[in-house]
Amino acid sequence: MAHAGIPDMIEIDELNHATILWNLHQRYFKDDIYTYVGPTLLAVNPFMALDKKYPPSVIDDYKQIMMAEDNYLEVMRKLPPHTYAIAAYAHKQLIVTKTRQAIVIAGESGAGKTESANQAMAFLTSLGIKNIDKSKGDLAVRILSTNPVLEAFGNSRTARNDNSSRFGKYIKLYFDKDDGLCLGAEIKNYLLEKSRVIGCTAVERNYHIFFFILRGAEIAAA
């Protein structure tokens, strides 16, 4: 019988490499890919879609954190760990403390940083949008549409990851300080791996876009 695993590792009496890895291992095999260490979230890439465990509707569970009064930390701790909880916590802190918040996503190649960032963006834009200029279309859709564009030109296939970001990005989301609705987004890109345009090793691919236009463009045009 597998141990249930501990959702917040701060509660482990004896914290060391072995206990941390053992706990993550126990949880990973139950598809519990998220684990807290205090205010930090550890996400382990499942390398598959976990639609059963995390259906799109879970996004609404984490909106309780936004609805909560001063006890939002308790509400957050009662829910299973998730990227959405971190995004919700950051947004709640933004409203409560009126100070800027940052979510730092770090990890090695293929760890799931890009997906985590997309999840956080999806959550934050789902909270409500102030569409100032309606003629340009739905702002939430436009903010999320930046991802496929940046990934087509800036992502490639590496030995370890079929969709590896070959650039860093800094996404700024602006929110109204009173009602917390999203006002817009700004993205800064850093350090694209330019050498890949010239060529890549045999186990990798060049940037997705070259394959996209060779394989997809004609069908779309026809």
Binding site: V141, V197, I213, L214, I219
Partner: protein, 115 residues
């Protein structure tokens, strides 16, 4: 990108992409390794990209220009140089390009006047 007769050029026709590894391995429901070309995914992702360009509000002329520049980069990988004209920078003379058709194609895509 079509040939003159309207057929599709495979990516491997481009020397520049020919060495890339296009096969991905994944596990099926029974845990067996399956190898698959990324083609189906590329086609799906291209459709997503095309839709994203539109929802971001790119005018068609800009979308076309982005395609043209990307295609030009692809054709740049096909340029052939004449090694007999290469002098290691001693005489400071330019190296000749033998594939003039490719140059014309690149110039056309980038909107540079025919020389």
């Amino acid at each position: 990108m079509a040939n003159a007769d309207g057929t599709r050029k495979p990516y491997s026709a481009f020397r520049y992409l020919a060495t890339c590894n296009d096969m991905r391995t994944f596990k099926d429901k029974d845990g067996n390794d399956v190898k698959e070309s990324m083609e189906a995914r590329d086609i799906k992702d291209y459709a997503e990209l095309a839709a994203a360009f539109v929802s971001l509000g790119f005018p068609q002329a800009e979308i076309d220009a982005i395609h043209d520049v990307t295609a030009a980069a692809l054709h740049c990988g096909e340029l052939q140089l004449d090694p007999s004209t290469f002098d290691d920078g001693k005489a400071n003379t330019p190296v000749s390009i033998t594939s003039t058709a490719t140059v014309k194609q690149i110039a056309k895509l980038l909107g540079i006047q025919d020389y």
